[in-house]
Protein backbone atom coordinates (compact mmCIF):
# COMPACT_ATOMS: atom_id res chain seq x y z
CA UNK A 1 0.00 0.00 0.00
CA UNK A 2 1.01 3.63 -0.58
CA UNK A 3 1.11 5.94 2.44
CA UNK A 4 0.83 9.68 1.82
CA UNK A 5 1.78 12.19 4.51
CA UNK A 6 3.48 15.54 5.02
CA UNK A 7 7.17 15.29 5.83
CA UNK A 8 8.83 18.56 6.80
CA UNK A 9 6.06 20.49 5.06
CA UNK A 10 6.21 18.56 1.80
CA UNK A 11 3.80 15.88 0.62
CA UNK A 12 5.53 12.51 0.31
CA UNK A 13 4.53 8.96 -0.60
CA UNK A 14 6.06 5.77 0.63
CA UNK A 15 5.20 2.20 -0.28
CA UNK A 16 4.85 -0.22 2.63
CA UNK A 17 4.28 -3.93 2.26
CA UNK A 18 5.08 -4.95 5.86
CA UNK A 19 4.34 -3.38 9.28
CA UNK A 20 7.60 -1.38 9.27
CA UNK A 21 8.09 1.60 11.55
CA UNK A 22 8.01 5.22 10.48
CA UNK A 23 11.70 5.27 11.42
CA UNK A 24 12.52 2.59 8.86
CA UNK A 25 10.35 4.28 6.23
CA UNK A 26 12.19 7.57 6.80
CA UNK A 27 15.67 6.06 6.61
CA UNK A 28 15.26 3.19 4.17
CA UNK A 29 12.59 4.47 1.77
CA UNK A 30 12.62 8.26 1.98
CA UNK A 31 16.36 8.78 2.42
CA UNK A 32 15.98 11.04 5.45
CA UNK A 33 18.88 10.08 7.68
CA UNK A 34 18.85 12.69 10.46
CA UNK A 35 16.50 10.51 12.50
CA UNK A 36 18.71 7.88 14.12
CA UNK A 37 17.97 4.21 14.75
CA UNK A 38 19.30 2.64 17.94
CA UNK A 39 17.19 0.73 20.44
CA UNK A 40 14.01 0.26 18.38
CA UNK A 41 11.97 -0.09 21.58
CA UNK A 42 11.27 3.50 22.61
CA UNK A 43 13.96 3.58 25.29
CA UNK A 44 16.61 5.88 23.77
CA UNK A 45 14.87 8.76 21.99
CA UNK A 46 17.35 8.91 19.11
CA UNK A 47 14.49 8.46 16.62
CA UNK A 48 12.33 11.27 18.06
CA UNK A 49 10.14 13.09 15.53
CA UNK A 50 7.16 15.39 15.84
CA UNK A 51 3.97 13.65 14.72
CA UNK A 52 0.90 15.89 14.45
CA UNK A 53 2.40 18.32 16.96
CA UNK A 54 3.66 15.84 19.55
CA UNK A 55 7.12 14.39 20.02
CA UNK A 56 7.11 10.59 19.70
CA UNK A 57 9.56 7.78 19.01
CA UNK A 58 9.30 7.07 15.28
CA UNK A 59 10.40 3.46 15.90
CA UNK A 60 7.08 2.90 17.70
CA UNK A 61 4.91 4.44 14.99
CA UNK A 62 3.76 2.07 12.25
CA UNK A 63 4.53 3.73 8.93
CA UNK A 64 1.11 2.78 7.57
CA UNK A 65 -0.49 4.73 10.44
CA UNK A 66 0.87 8.16 9.39
CA UNK A 67 -1.44 8.44 6.38
CA UNK A 68 -2.53 12.09 6.24
CA UNK A 69 -0.36 13.09 9.20
CA UNK A 70 2.28 15.79 9.65
CA UNK A 71 5.77 14.55 10.46
CA UNK A 72 8.69 16.82 11.32
CA UNK A 73 12.21 15.41 11.59
CA UNK A 74 15.39 17.20 12.61
CA UNK A 75 15.84 18.24 8.97
CA UNK A 76 12.60 20.21 9.09
CA UNK A 77 12.81 21.58 12.60
CA UNK A 78 13.81 25.08 11.51
CA UNK A 79 13.10 25.26 7.79
CA UNK A 80 16.29 26.34 6.04
CA UNK A 81 17.82 28.06 9.07
CA UNK A 82 19.22 26.95 12.40
CA UNK A 83 16.85 26.39 15.30
CA UNK A 84 17.58 28.22 18.58
CA UNK A 85 17.98 24.88 20.37
CA UNK A 86 20.67 23.93 17.85
CA UNK A 87 22.49 27.21 18.41
CA UNK A 88 22.20 26.75 22.17
CA UNK A 89 23.68 23.24 21.99
CA UNK A 90 26.48 24.40 19.72
CA UNK A 91 27.41 27.28 22.00
CA UNK A 92 27.31 25.14 25.15
CA UNK A 93 29.45 22.38 23.64
CA UNK A 94 26.56 19.96 24.14
CA UNK A 95 27.49 17.70 21.22
CA UNK A 96 30.11 14.97 21.38
CA UNK A 97 29.64 11.94 19.13
CA UNK A 98 26.40 13.45 17.87
CA UNK A 99 24.32 10.30 17.59
CA UNK A 100 21.73 11.39 20.16
CA UNK A 101 21.79 15.01 18.99
CA UNK A 102 19.01 14.94 16.35
CA UNK A 103 16.62 13.31 18.84
CA UNK A 104 17.55 15.85 21.49
CA UNK A 105 17.12 18.76 19.07
CA UNK A 106 13.64 17.53 18.11
CA UNK A 107 12.62 16.90 21.74
CA UNK A 108 13.96 20.25 22.93
CA UNK A 109 12.31 22.08 20.03
CA UNK A 110 8.99 20.53 21.10
CA UNK A 111 9.65 21.56 24.71
CA UNK A 112 10.40 25.19 23.81
CA UNK A 113 7.43 25.28 21.44
CA UNK A 114 5.12 24.78 24.41
CA UNK A 115 7.17 26.55 27.11
CA UNK A 116 9.70 29.25 26.30
CA UNK A 117 11.14 29.43 29.80
CA UNK A 118 11.28 25.89 31.17
CA UNK A 119 12.85 25.32 34.58
CA UNK A 120 15.81 23.00 35.00
CA UNK A 121 13.47 20.28 36.27
CA UNK A 122 11.21 20.73 33.26
CA UNK A 123 14.20 20.50 30.92
CA UNK A 124 15.41 17.31 32.61
CA UNK A 125 11.95 15.79 32.58
CA UNK A 126 11.43 16.63 28.89
CA UNK A 127 14.75 14.94 28.06
CA UNK A 128 14.17 11.88 30.26
CA UNK A 129 13.59 9.76 27.17
CA UNK A 130 16.71 10.84 25.28
CA UNK A 131 19.80 8.87 26.17
CA UNK A 132 23.28 10.36 25.64
CA UNK A 133 26.26 8.12 26.37
CA UNK A 134 28.95 10.80 25.91
CA UNK A 135 28.17 14.03 27.66
CA UNK A 136 26.78 13.08 31.04
CA UNK A 137 23.98 15.55 30.14
CA UNK A 138 25.58 18.51 31.97
CA UNK A 139 26.30 20.58 28.87
CA UNK A 140 22.98 19.62 27.27
CA UNK A 141 20.98 20.80 30.28
CA UNK A 142 23.11 23.96 30.55
CA UNK A 143 22.47 24.74 26.86
CA UNK A 144 18.72 24.73 27.40
CA UNK A 145 18.91 26.55 30.75
CA UNK A 146 20.75 29.28 28.90
CA UNK A 147 18.13 29.33 26.13
CA UNK A 148 15.32 29.39 28.71
CA UNK A 149 16.76 32.59 30.18
CA UNK A 150 16.64 34.43 26.83
Amino acid sequence: MIVTFRLNDEAVNTRVSTPISLLDALRDDLGVFGTKSACEQGECGSCSVILDGEVVCSCLVMAADVEGSDVTTVEGISGAGVHPVQTAMHEAGAVQCGFCTPGIVVTAAALFEGNQHPSTDEIKEALAGNICRCTGYGAIVRAFEELARE
Binding site: S21, E40, G42, E54, L60, A64, E125, A128
Partner: protein, 264 residues
Protein backbone atom coordinates in the same frame (compact mmCIF):
# COMPACT_ATOMS: atom_id res chain seq x y z
CA UNK B 1 -0.18 -5.50 3.96
CA UNK B 2 -3.63 -4.11 4.72
CA UNK B 3 -4.09 -1.14 7.07
CA UNK B 4 -7.40 0.54 7.96
CA UNK B 5 -7.72 4.14 9.18
CA UNK B 6 -11.30 4.18 10.47
CA UNK B 7 -12.95 7.08 12.27
CA UNK B 8 -15.83 5.17 13.87
CA UNK B 9 -16.04 2.21 16.23
CA UNK B 10 -18.36 0.40 13.80
CA UNK B 11 -15.65 0.41 11.15
CA UNK B 12 -13.08 -0.80 13.70
CA UNK B 13 -15.33 -3.72 14.63
CA UNK B 14 -15.78 -4.66 10.96
CA UNK B 15 -11.99 -4.74 10.59
CA UNK B 16 -11.59 -6.82 13.77
CA UNK B 17 -14.18 -9.29 12.45
CA UNK B 18 -12.09 -9.54 9.29
CA UNK B 19 -9.07 -10.47 11.41
CA UNK B 20 -7.26 -7.12 11.78
CA UNK B 21 -4.96 -6.47 14.74
CA UNK B 22 -5.77 -3.24 16.61
CA UNK B 23 -3.02 -0.61 16.91
CA UNK B 24 -3.27 2.33 19.31
CA UNK B 25 -0.09 4.05 20.58
CA UNK B 26 2.15 1.28 19.26
CA UNK B 27 4.39 1.31 22.34
CA UNK B 28 3.90 -2.42 22.91
CA UNK B 29 3.00 -3.78 19.45
CA UNK B 30 5.80 -2.02 17.57
CA UNK B 31 8.46 -3.32 19.96
CA UNK B 32 7.30 -6.84 19.05
CA UNK B 33 7.33 -5.96 15.35
CA UNK B 34 10.80 -4.38 15.55
CA UNK B 35 12.19 -7.45 17.29
CA UNK B 36 10.62 -9.85 14.83
CA UNK B 37 8.21 -11.35 17.38
CA UNK B 38 5.11 -10.23 15.53
CA UNK B 39 4.40 -9.40 11.90
CA UNK B 40 0.75 -8.43 11.53
CA UNK B 41 -0.26 -8.13 7.87
CA UNK B 42 -3.73 -6.79 8.65
CA UNK B 43 -3.91 -3.85 11.06
CA UNK B 44 -6.56 -1.37 12.16
CA UNK B 45 -5.27 1.96 13.48
CA UNK B 46 -7.36 3.38 16.32
CA UNK B 47 -6.00 6.89 16.75
CA UNK B 48 -8.47 8.57 14.40
CA UNK B 49 -11.55 7.22 16.22
CA UNK B 50 -12.96 10.17 18.14
CA UNK B 51 -15.17 8.05 20.37
CA UNK B 52 -12.07 6.25 21.64
CA UNK B 53 -10.17 9.45 22.43
CA UNK B 54 -13.14 11.08 24.16
CA UNK B 55 -13.22 11.44 27.93
CA UNK B 56 -16.47 12.27 29.64
CA UNK B 57 -16.48 12.43 33.41
CA UNK B 58 -15.75 9.02 34.82
CA UNK B 59 -15.67 7.32 31.39
CA UNK B 60 -12.15 7.48 30.01
CA UNK B 61 -11.85 6.55 26.33
CA UNK B 62 -9.42 3.72 25.63
CA UNK B 63 -7.45 6.03 23.32
CA UNK B 64 -6.73 8.63 26.01
CA UNK B 65 -2.95 8.99 26.23
CA UNK B 66 -0.78 9.01 29.35
CA UNK B 67 -0.01 12.61 28.53
CA UNK B 68 -3.68 13.57 28.95
CA UNK B 69 -4.03 11.44 32.09
CA UNK B 70 -0.94 13.09 33.52
CA UNK B 71 -2.48 16.52 32.94
CA UNK B 72 -6.07 15.90 33.98
CA UNK B 73 -6.56 12.45 35.52
CA UNK B 74 -7.62 11.71 39.11
CA UNK B 75 -4.59 12.34 41.33
CA UNK B 76 -3.23 8.81 41.76
CA UNK B 77 -3.84 7.96 38.10
CA UNK B 78 -2.10 11.18 37.04
CA UNK B 79 0.81 10.30 39.32
CA UNK B 80 0.98 6.86 37.70
CA UNK B 81 0.81 8.34 34.20
CA UNK B 82 3.73 10.63 34.99
CA UNK B 83 5.95 7.62 35.70
CA UNK B 84 5.24 5.87 32.41
CA UNK B 85 8.21 5.80 30.03
CA UNK B 86 9.31 9.17 28.66
CA UNK B 87 7.41 12.16 27.26
CA UNK B 88 7.63 10.46 23.85
CA UNK B 89 6.01 7.28 25.22
CA UNK B 90 3.36 9.24 27.14
CA UNK B 91 2.38 11.14 23.97
CA UNK B 92 1.69 7.84 22.22
CA UNK B 93 0.71 5.17 24.77
CA UNK B 94 -2.91 4.88 25.91
CA UNK B 95 -4.84 3.61 28.92
CA UNK B 96 -6.66 1.17 26.63
CA UNK B 97 -3.32 -0.21 25.48
CA UNK B 98 -2.19 -0.65 29.07
CA UNK B 99 -5.38 -2.60 29.79
CA UNK B 100 -5.09 -4.67 26.59
CA UNK B 101 -1.45 -5.60 27.19
CA UNK B 102 -2.31 -6.56 30.78
CA UNK B 103 1.28 -6.65 31.93
CA UNK B 104 1.62 -7.45 35.63
CA UNK B 105 3.68 -4.22 35.74
CA UNK B 106 1.10 -2.02 33.96
CA UNK B 107 1.40 1.34 35.72
CA UNK B 108 -2.22 2.36 35.13
CA UNK B 109 -3.72 -0.86 36.43
CA UNK B 110 -3.35 -0.53 40.24
CA UNK B 111 -5.50 2.60 40.10
CA UNK B 112 -8.22 0.77 38.15
CA UNK B 113 -8.06 -2.06 40.68
CA UNK B 114 -8.13 0.23 43.71
CA UNK B 115 -11.29 2.04 42.59
CA UNK B 116 -12.97 -1.09 41.15
CA UNK B 117 -13.09 0.22 37.59
CA UNK B 118 -14.85 -1.62 34.80
CA UNK B 119 -13.48 -2.25 31.32
CA UNK B 120 -16.00 -1.44 28.57
CA UNK B 121 -15.94 -3.73 25.54
CA UNK B 122 -17.74 -3.61 22.22
CA UNK B 123 -18.10 -6.15 19.42
CA UNK B 124 -20.28 -6.37 16.34
CA UNK B 125 -22.75 -8.40 18.40
CA UNK B 126 -23.06 -5.91 21.25
CA UNK B 127 -21.27 -4.53 24.28
CA UNK B 128 -20.41 -5.53 27.83
CA UNK B 129 -18.64 -4.07 30.83
CA UNK B 130 -16.33 -6.30 32.84
CA UNK B 131 -15.07 -5.57 36.34
CA UNK B 132 -11.24 -5.24 36.36
CA UNK B 133 -10.67 -8.45 38.33
CA UNK B 134 -12.73 -10.49 35.88
CA UNK B 135 -10.89 -8.91 32.95
CA UNK B 136 -7.27 -9.54 33.98
CA UNK B 137 -6.98 -13.29 34.14
CA UNK B 138 -3.23 -13.94 33.98
CA UNK B 139 0.15 -12.62 32.86
CA UNK B 140 -0.75 -10.62 29.71
CA UNK B 141 -4.02 -12.57 29.53
CA UNK B 142 -7.45 -10.94 29.53
CA UNK B 143 -11.09 -11.88 29.09
CA UNK B 144 -11.18 -10.05 25.74
CA UNK B 145 -12.88 -12.21 23.12
CA UNK B 146 -11.95 -12.25 19.41
CA UNK B 147 -13.71 -9.37 17.68
CA UNK B 148 -14.01 -7.35 20.89
CA UNK B 149 -12.56 -3.86 21.26
CA UNK B 150 -11.74 -2.09 24.53
CA UNK B 151 -13.63 1.19 24.15
CA UNK B 152 -13.23 2.81 27.59
CA UNK B 153 -12.63 2.31 31.27
CA UNK B 154 -15.30 3.48 33.67
CA UNK B 155 -14.44 4.72 37.15
CA UNK B 156 -16.96 5.14 39.98
CA UNK B 157 -18.71 8.52 39.91
CA UNK B 158 -17.18 9.52 43.23
CA UNK B 159 -13.56 8.81 44.03
CA UNK B 160 -11.90 9.02 47.44
CA UNK B 161 -10.24 12.39 47.98
CA UNK B 162 -7.28 10.65 49.55
CA UNK B 163 -5.39 8.59 47.00
CA UNK B 164 -1.75 8.08 46.17
CA UNK B 165 0.37 6.17 43.66
CA UNK B 166 3.97 5.09 44.15
CA UNK B 167 6.45 3.05 42.17
CA UNK B 168 9.74 1.39 43.02
CA UNK B 169 12.23 0.97 40.20
CA UNK B 170 15.92 1.12 39.44
CA UNK B 171 15.83 4.72 38.29
CA UNK B 172 13.46 7.66 38.18
CA UNK B 173 12.67 7.86 34.46
CA UNK B 174 11.95 5.22 31.82
CA UNK B 175 11.50 2.44 34.31
CA UNK B 176 9.31 -0.63 34.47
CA UNK B 177 8.02 -1.06 38.00
CA UNK B 178 9.67 -3.43 40.44
CA UNK B 179 6.58 -2.75 42.53
CA UNK B 180 3.85 -0.17 41.94
CA UNK B 181 0.97 0.57 44.26
CA UNK B 182 -2.14 2.68 44.74
CA UNK B 183 -3.70 3.33 48.15
CA UNK B 184 -7.03 5.11 48.61
CA UNK B 185 -8.76 5.93 51.86
CA UNK B 186 -12.29 7.20 52.53
CA UNK B 187 -13.21 9.40 55.50
CA UNK B 188 -14.89 6.40 57.18
CA UNK B 189 -11.59 4.51 57.04
CA UNK B 190 -12.42 2.29 54.06
CA UNK B 191 -8.99 1.62 52.54
CA UNK B 192 -8.07 0.03 49.21
CA UNK B 193 -4.62 -1.20 48.35
CA UNK B 194 -3.72 -2.40 44.85
CA UNK B 195 -0.28 -3.47 43.70
CA UNK B 196 1.42 -4.23 40.40
CA UNK B 197 4.46 -6.37 39.52
CA UNK B 198 3.97 -8.62 42.54
CA UNK B 199 1.54 -11.22 41.17
CA UNK B 200 0.48 -12.59 37.76
CA UNK B 201 -2.09 -9.79 37.57
CA UNK B 202 -2.56 -6.48 39.34
CA UNK B 203 -3.81 -7.47 42.75
CA UNK B 204 -5.63 -6.19 45.83
CA UNK B 205 -4.53 -7.21 49.32
CA UNK B 206 -7.83 -7.79 51.07
CA UNK B 207 -6.60 -8.87 54.51
CA UNK B 208 -4.41 -5.77 54.82
CA UNK B 209 -7.31 -3.64 53.57
CA UNK B 210 -9.75 -5.10 56.12
CA UNK B 211 -7.30 -4.73 58.97
CA UNK B 212 -6.48 -1.05 58.33
CA UNK B 213 -10.03 -0.06 57.28
CA UNK B 214 -11.22 -0.95 60.79
CA UNK B 215 -8.74 1.42 62.42
CA UNK B 216 -9.85 5.07 62.56
CA UNK B 217 -6.48 6.50 63.60
CA UNK B 218 -3.71 4.04 62.84
CA UNK B 219 -0.84 4.00 65.32
CA UNK B 220 2.76 3.18 64.51
CA UNK B 221 2.06 -0.43 65.48
CA UNK B 222 -1.00 -0.58 63.21
CA UNK B 223 1.04 0.70 60.27
CA UNK B 224 3.73 -1.88 60.93
CA UNK B 225 1.14 -4.65 61.06
CA UNK B 226 -0.46 -3.29 57.87
CA UNK B 227 2.89 -3.39 56.03
CA UNK B 228 3.52 -6.92 57.30
CA UNK B 229 0.14 -8.09 55.99
CA UNK B 230 0.75 -6.49 52.58
CA UNK B 231 4.13 -8.21 52.30
CA UNK B 232 2.60 -11.51 53.34
CA UNK B 233 -0.31 -11.29 50.91
CA UNK B 234 1.48 -10.43 47.66
CA UNK B 235 2.74 -13.26 45.44
CA UNK B 236 5.85 -11.98 43.64
CA UNK B 237 8.43 -13.96 41.67
CA UNK B 238 12.15 -13.58 41.11
CA UNK B 239 12.98 -12.48 37.58
CA UNK B 240 15.52 -10.35 35.69
CA UNK B 241 14.11 -7.20 37.30
CA UNK B 242 14.10 -8.13 40.99
CA UNK B 243 13.78 -10.90 43.52
CA UNK B 244 10.78 -12.38 45.26
CA UNK B 245 11.98 -11.32 48.70
CA UNK B 246 12.84 -7.74 47.68
CA UNK B 247 9.46 -7.27 46.00
CA UNK B 248 7.69 -8.66 49.07
CA UNK B 249 9.58 -6.26 51.35
CA UNK B 250 9.16 -3.27 49.02
CA UNK B 251 5.41 -3.93 48.72
CA UNK B 252 4.91 -3.47 52.45
CA UNK B 253 7.15 -0.41 52.65
CA UNK B 254 5.55 1.27 49.64
CA UNK B 255 1.94 0.55 50.69
CA UNK B 256 2.64 1.85 54.18
CA UNK B 257 4.26 5.02 52.84
CA UNK B 258 1.32 5.70 50.52
CA UNK B 259 -1.14 5.07 53.34
CA UNK B 260 0.74 7.56 55.51
CA UNK B 261 0.40 10.10 52.70
CA UNK B 262 -3.33 9.44 52.62
CA UNK B 263 -3.58 9.92 56.38
CA UNK B 264 -1.84 13.30 56.41
Amino acid sequence: MEFHHPTTIGEVLDALDAGAVPLAGGTDLMVEVNFGLSRPDHVVGLRRVEELTSWEGSKIGAGVTWRRLEDSGPRALAQAARTVGSPQIRNAGTIGGNVATASPAGDGLPFLAAVDATIDLRSSSGGRSVRWNDFFVGVKKTALEPGELITSVTLPGELPERQAFGKVGVRNAMVIATVCCVVTREDDGDTRVALGSVAPTTTRVSRAEEMISAVARPTHADLTEFARLVSEEVAPITDHRSTESYRRHASGVLARRLLERCLR
